[in-house]
Symmetry: C2
C-alpha cells in the first residue's frame, strides 16, 4: 500500500467526529441541496454532448495512434470550455500495435468467407495468409487437455458458452478463451488460433480485445470470429472430416508511441482533505467509435464533476482523469499510479467504465471511521433504483491500483446485460447510449460526488484483504 | 394474361360442382387428416435440416457465381434424397456482377473509417478510390429537388427514416433511397452515392441490394452505410462545413454466367387438375449465408411438400421450384415464367420469401368458383394464429408473374418486424431462424397444400385488376 500522508494525518485528527453519531449538518452539503443536484442531473445534457462529440468528431481512438492524440487535444479543449481548472496532459510512451488486413475463409469443403478480427497483440500471417486444418475445442479447458505438440501445423478454434449477465461476470467466465487461449494453442504447436468472440450478440462483428502471451511463447496470428461464424464453423466440424481455413491477419507493431492521460480539476476549498479522483478512459478499440467503452465513462464523470463545480467549490478537489491506453493493458492507469502514488493527496477513487446503461448497485469500501459516507451515498442514490451491494469497490481498471493499495472507493455498477453485445466490436457506437439511462448515471454520480467531495469525515486508507 | 389451356378447360367443365354448396367430403382430404398433417408439422425437423445444411455447407450463393452452382448441386442431391420426383435444373445465363474491395472513410475533419457495402450493379471507383465532399439529403425527394448539375464532383449521401413494420411496408417506403437514389444523384453530376442502409438495425453491417440505373445514366459507385455510420455522417454534416469522404468500391461485371432453377415434383394423381407451383429462391446476397433470405423459404416449402408426399399422392402435382438469381432482378422467376407460361398446367402459385418468423396473415386470390378453397385454408390455419387478410395474393417475386397473369395464389405472410434487421446484411445467418416459428410456417404450408393440392374444385384463372 502506498503511503498517503495527508489523509493519514487527517484521519488521525478526526476520530471523534466520525463515531456513530450524525455529523453536524453544516459540515455536509445540505441534504436538500444534494437532492436538488441529483434531480437536476436527471435532465443532464452535458454527458450526452461529450459522448456525442467524442464519437462523432474523433471516432475510434486506438492507444498510441494519431487518433488517440487528436482525442487528447479534443478533451483538453472540451474540459477547458466546461470550466475545469488545471487541465493538462500527462504523457507517457508505449509500444503500439495496429491492425492490418484481416480475412478468414473456409476453403475446399464448405468453402465460404468468415468474419474475423485480430486480437490485440496478435502475431501476423504472411501477407498471403496461412492455410491449415482447423481443430476445434469447446473450451480453454479442452484445449489445455490436448497433448503437447498435437496442434502442430493446425489452426486451433477455441469456443465457450458465454451468456449475458447483469453484473458482467460472464466476461470472467468466457474471457480466458481470448486472454490465454491463443498462447496455450501456440505452446501446443498451433500456427494460428481463432476464438469464438467473447461476447453475447449474434452479429457478424467479431469482438477484439487483447490476448496475452505467456513468457517465452512466440505470438501466433490470433483472431476472433463472430458468433454466427463460430457456430457455423462448429457445425462444419461436427460433420466430421477435415475443415480447412485460410487466414490473413497482418497486424504490426509500430514502435514506441506517445499516449497520455488528460487531467482536469474542480479545486476544493480544503487542501488537506485529500483529492477525489474519478474518471474513465479516453482510448478505445479501433473497430468502433467507443461509445459504451468508454466515451460514456468520461462523459458521465465529467458531467457530474461539472455539476458539482457549478454548485460552488467542494471541500475536496475533484480530479477528473481521462486515461489513455486502457484497452491495451491499463497503461495510462499504471502510469498515473506510478507517477502519483507517493504524492499523497488521492483519498478516494471511482471509475465509470461499463457502458451507459442504468446503475443498479453501489458498492462502497471505506475505513470504519468513514463508513457513514457509504450510507449517505446509498440513501441519495436509492431513489434512482440503486441498491447497496456488499462487494468491495474495485474502482475500475484505471483506478484499481489505488483501490488495491488501500484507497477508499465506490463503484456505481451499471447494468451489464447489454454490455457484451457491443464491447470491443464495431457496434460500440453512439446509438447504443440510451439518453435516459445515461442521465440516471449522471444523477447517481452527482449525488455521490456531492457527498464524498464534501464529507466532513476524513477519508482515510482502508485495510482490505486485497491490500494485504 | 398468359393462356392456360388446361385449367381454362377444367374450369369450364366444373361450374356445377363449384357453386356455393359444400363439396362431397370424399373429394377433399378428410379434415381430420389435414389437421393431423398440420399438427405433425409443428414438430417438423425437415425445414431446419434444409436451412441448416444450405447455410452451413454452401453459405453465400450469389447469383451467377460458382457458389450458386454448388448450391444447385446441393439442392438436387437434397431433393432426391427427400424422395422428390423429376428433380432437374433448368439453366439460364445472366450477366453477373461481383463485389470487389470496399472501404469508406472520412478524411480531414472528423477523420474516421465507415462501414460501407457496394449496392448490386454499383459502378466502380479506381482502385485507389475517389475523394470528394459529401452533400447530404434527408430523402430521395430532397435529392430530386436538388438543381441539375448541383452535385458535380460530389458524393451524394441519401437518407430516409425507415421503421420496422409487421407487413414489411417500410421497405416500400424507404427502398427508393436504394432503388433510384444513386441514379438520380448520377444524373445531377455526383461522382458517387452512399445511402443510409435500407434496414432497421443498428449494427455496423450495411444492407446491400440492387440499385437501378435509369436509361442512359452511367452507373456511379454506389454503396450503403450502416445505420450507425449514416447517423454519424449526418451528425458531421449538421455541424456545417465541408465533410470529405474517401470511397473505394471496386465491383465488376464478370460476363455472362450460368444460373438456374432447381425443380422437383410430388406427382399428382390427376394430370388434368393442374399443377400447384410453390417455392422460394436458392440464391442469396453475397454478404451472408442467406438464412432468412431465403434458405428459410426453400426449406419451408420443401418440408411442407415432403409432408404431403408422405401422406400419399395428392390430386394435383406439387411442383417445388427453388429459383436462381432472384436477388439480382428475379431472373430465375422471369426465366421460368417465360419458358413455361404457355405450357398450361400451373393453376396455383405460392412463394415463401420473407424470412422464418411466424405467419400472421393469409391472403388468397381465387376465381369465384374456387373461393371455398380460401375459406377452407383459412379455417385450417386459424388455430396457428393466422388471420385471413383482404389483400390480393401476390405470390412473391419469383412467382409473381403468374399471379399478375391471373393464376390463383395464396400468400402466407410472415411477420416482418425483424426481417429488415437482417435482410441483405452479413447478419442473415442461421441463428436468426427461430425453430418454433419455422415449424409454424411448415404447419401452415402443409395445411394449405393439403387443401389446395387436393381440392375437388377446378382452380381456374382469376380476373384481377392487376391482370387487366
Amino acid at each position: 500500500m502506498a503511503p498517503m500522508k495527508t489523509s493519514l494525518l487527517a484521519a488521525a485528527a478526526l476520530p471523534l467526529l466520525t463515531l456513530s453519531t450524525p455529523l453536524p449538518a453544516l459540515a455536509q452539503m445540505a441534504p436538500a441541496e444534494v437532492e436538488r443536484l441529483r434531480d437536476a442531473a436527471l435532465k443532464d445534457d452535458i454527458a450526452w454532448d461529450i459522448a456525442e462529440g467524442l464519437t462523432t468528431e474523433i471516432g475510434p481512438r486506438l492507444a498510441g495512434t494519431e487518433a488517440e492524440a487528436r482525442a487528447r487535444q479534443w478533451a483538453v479543449a472540451k474540459l477547458k470550455s466546461l470550466g475545469f481548472q488545471n487541465v493538462r496532459i500527462e504523457e507517457f510512451t508505449m509500444p503500439t500495435w495496429v491492425r492490418g488486413e484481416e480475412h478468414a475463409e473456409i476453403v475446399g469443403r464448405f468453402a465460404q468467407p468468415m468474419h474475423v478480427a485480430a486480437l490485440g497483440e496478435s502475431g501476423a500471417t504472411p501477407p498471403e495468409g496461412i492455410t491449415a486444418e482447423v481443430v476445434g475445442f469447446e473450451s480453454v479447458d479442452a484445449l489445455r487437455a490436448a497433448p503437447a505438440g498435437s496442434l502442430k501445423g493446425k489452426i486451433a478454434f477455441i469456443s465457450h458458452d458465454m451468456k449475458p449477465t447483469q453484473d458482467g461476470s460472464g466476461y470472467g467466465f468466457a474471457g480466458p478463451a481470448r486472454w490465454v487461449g491463443p498462447s496455450i494453442a501456440a505452446e501446443k504447436g498451433a500456427v494460428a488460433a481463432v476464438i469464438r468472440s467473447v461476447g453475447t450478440d449474434y452479429h457478424r462483428n467479431p469482438h477484439t480485445g487483447g490476448t496475452n502471451w505467456a513468457e517465452g511463447v512466440k505470438p501466433i496470428p490470433a483472431g476472433a470470429l463472430s458468433l454466427p461464424d463460430a457456430e457455423n464453423l462448429a457445425r462444419m466440424l461436427e460433420r466430421g472430416g477435415p475443415i480447412t481455413m485460410k487466414l490473413v491477419l497482418t497486424p504490426k507493431w509500430i514502435g514506441e508511441q506517445t499516449s497520455g492521460n488528460v487531467v482536469a480539476e474542480v479545486p476544493g476549498t480544503d487542501p488537506d482533505a485529500g483529492v477525489v479522483a474519478i474518471g474513465g478512459h479516453l482510448d478505445s478499440w479501433d473497430l468502433a467509435t467507443g461509445a459504451f467503452d468508454n466515451a460514456a465513462g468520461v462523459a458521465i464523470t465529467a458531467a457530474a464533476a461539472k455539476r458539482i463545480m457549478e454548485a460552488g467549490p467542494p471541500r475536496r478537489t475533484i480530479r477528473l482523469i481521462w486515461f489513455g491506453a486502457e484497452e491495451v493493458g491499463v497503461l495510462g492507469g499504471s502510469a498515473y499510479f506510478e507517477r502519483h502514488k507517493n504524492d499523497g493527496g488521492v483519498v478516494f477513487v471511482s471509475e465509470s467504465d461499463f457502458g451507459a446503461d442504468r446503475i443498479w448497485k453501489m458498492d462502497c469500501t471505506m475505513a470504519e471511521t468513514a463508513k457513514a459516507i457509504c450510507d449517505r451515498v446509498a440513501g441519495y442514490v436509492a431513489p434512482l433504483g440503486i441498491m447497496k451491494g456488499r462487494d468491495p469497490a474495485g474502482a475500475g481498471a484505471d483506478l484499481g491500483a489505488w483501490a488495491r493499495a488501500g484507497t477508499a472507493a465506490i463503484d456505481l455498477n451499471q447494468d451489464g446485460t447489454r454490455y457484451f453485445a457491443f464491447h470491443h466490436t464495431p457496434d460500440d457506437t453512439l446509438d447504443k447510449i440510451d439518453r435516459e439511462q445515461l442521465r440516471q448515471n449522471v444523477a447517481a454520480w452527482t449525488a455521490m460526488l456531492a457527498v464524498v467531495a464534501n464529507a466532513p469525515e476524513a477519508i482515510g486508507p482502508v485495510k482490505r484483504e486485497a491490500a494485504q
